[in-house]
């Protein structure tokens, strides 16, 4: 009899726990994009939603969702150029219901750009969240004349520069060589020619590179210790370092910094759509954006986002960008199917080539 009572009690407790946490919102996002403080405020406002965060990056997000056919997560945050091809090939997202998102505050230019990039058969698959750029970072006391992607290969700084061996540097180098890789996406044979030229240039440049960085942490360590004086970088990493050493500046390359927009997209088998829309609307509110930007170091896609950055980041942005630099931004173009393979082969070729 006692046992039965205990069992019933336990069952009741489990049921109650079940109703108390009716919904779980499983986020698949970048490091810093779901700070503790924001989650706490969100769960305070919606006590019946429980937020679970998985940190990832563009490639792993697609791999994870592809493995399950779009199950396992309720909201993902891929960059705007990584949605079209992934959706087209693997069918891992579902269209968004824009009427459920409060877009009144969103910067119209960014919204239009993301919509244009992620509309498939008339349906929109993503809305913008945070944006930032990739460009150059330099210690102005040691390498004041770094202006272009190609300057990383300047023999003056032999063994003192770094880059990440990923597609950004391929595109940047192509721009620096006077090509327009994004317009060549429609003509893959031409794009291959550009890639071959870029590969030759970057292989010749290998001598100049100390090491290819792999993540924000090893890049920061090399830059702060002075082991390198200039590097290709994400602007957010450079802004973080600026607060520790104001000589380290972000430099938009003269051909234009490459801009990315991290978006909200809904996996095809997401199970908490309502909660996901609540999260999107919640984090786009200006006072939440402030917390978010302090954690990501990137700018939110809402009007007046620059004023919502923390003071030291605002200063870093001002030291880096002029109004012309902003006009000169090059937004990453949609990656058509097949390009990833071509770029991957090129990167392998560069990695495998020998240098001193």
């Amino acid at each position: 009899m006692r046992l039965k009572a205990t069992l019933v009690g336990a069952l009741a407790a489990m049921l109650m726990a079940g109703t108390a946490q009716a919904e779980t919102l499983r986020l698949l996002t970048w490091g810093g994009y779901a700070p503790e403080e924001v989650i706490r405020l969100f769960e305070e406002k919606y006590p019946d939603i429980n937020v679970e965060v998985t940190l990832s990056n563009n490639e792993e997000m697609i791999a994870k969702l592809r493995a399950t056919g779009g199950a396992g997560y309720d909201l993902a945050q891929p960059s705007h150029d990584r949605i079209y091809a992934a959706q087209y090939e693997y069918n891992i997202y579902k269209p968004l219901d824009l009427s459920k998102i409060d877009l009144s505050n969103v910067e119209p230019k960014l919204l239009a750009g993301v919509k244009e990039n992620t509309t498939i058969e008339g349906q929109v698959y993503a809305v913008p969240h945070q944006w930032g750029t990739s460009g150059l970072m330099t210690d102005i006391t040691k390498a004041p004349d770094i202006k272009s992607w190609g300057d990383l290969c300047d023999p003056k700084y032999k063994g003192k520069t770094s880059m990440r061996l990923r597609r950004t540097i391929l595109l940047g180098t192509a721009f620096a060589m006077g090509e327009d890789p994004f317009s060549a996406y429609s003509d893959l044979a031409k794009y291959q020619q550009i890639l071959d030229k870029v590969a030759d240039k970057l292989i010749a440049c290998k001598d100049n590179i100390k090491a290819y960085w792999k993540g924000g942490d090893d890049l920061s360590a090399m830059m702060l210790s002075g082991e390198i004086v200039a590097s290709e970088t994400w602007d957010s990493t450079a802004f973080k370092l600026y607060s520790q050493n104001p000589n380290i500046r972000f430099v938009p390359p003269e051909t234009g910094a490459l801009a990315w927009i991290d978006t909200f997209a809904m996996p095809r088998k997401a199970q908490a759509d309502a909660a996901a829309y609540k999260w999107i609307n919640f984090v786009l509110q200006p006072d939440i954006v402030k917390l978010m930007s302090a954690s990501t170091g990137a700018m939110a896609s809402i009007k007046g986002a620059q004023e919502l950055l923390p003071a030291d980041k605002q200063e870093a942005v001002k030291a880096a960008f002029t109004a012309e630099d902003i006009d000169n931004l090059k937004f990453f173009a949609n990656i058509p199917p097949g390009v990833e393979d071509m770029e991957g082969k090129t990167l392998e070729k560069i990695q495998a080539a020998t240098s001193n």
Partner: protein
Amino acid sequence: MRSQRDIRRLSLFLLLAPFALWIVLLVALPQLGMLFLSLREKIAPRVYEYGFANYVSFAGEPIYWNTLLRTATMSLLVTALALVIGFPVAYYIAKIAGRRSRGALFLLILIPLWVSDLIRAFGWILLLRETGVVSSLLQWSGLVSGGIEFLYTDATVVVGLVYTVILFMIVPLVSTLDGMDEAMIEAGYNLGGNGFTVLRRIIIPYAMPGIVSGCIVTFMLTAGSYLTPILLGGKNSSWFTAQIYDQFITRYNWEAGATFGVLLLAFTSVVVWIGLKLSGQSLSTTVARS
């Protein structure tokens, strides 16, 4: 009588079930899945065909098989170094150290394993980077003037890997050498052998099963390692597991990634088989003795 036999059979079945499940679900099935995936080729988005195209493209691309050969050569080097360094240590622990200090020594060898691979690799990075401990010490002592970069070379990768895997060489060696009767060594000396002859004719043949099983484990672990070569390796070094990661994750090419995985398994198995043939051991004797 009959029921007793049934009980014995049932208990055997129950004992083996977790092991069999583990082998089938976690080892055999995923490998079959990989093999299956590797035979699939993508001709257009969402259109697939079956064939050997992935293997053909592997053979046709020198970057890929060069990386595989490089990985195998460096793994063999690591295995050899681990054996050369690990053998004296194992011999000391098993034969020379006293009963009481033996446990303490064994523990000392095990302690680094409590820390994850990642942390150990970062330890090496802190020591060896240009502004790291070793370089700073050398500058401070006046031996060199500028900072020296020890990181990002193949030598660093080898050192890091030997450090990571040497434990798996020492443990089987200790357990094999432990079983050796001291009288055999004494007899060797009594019959006029010098230290080298005793080592070559008595100790090494006796320890052979331990040596071979240690080498197998070390080689397999090294060839399949990912973190250490990635973190310590330089701009020219590529490791085969990194290629597999790139194919799966950054290039979305699961078919090629699976092909590489199957090839790595096949290639390392062949190397191990050759090693067994050359040393005159068989898998069952080495596993049973060590």
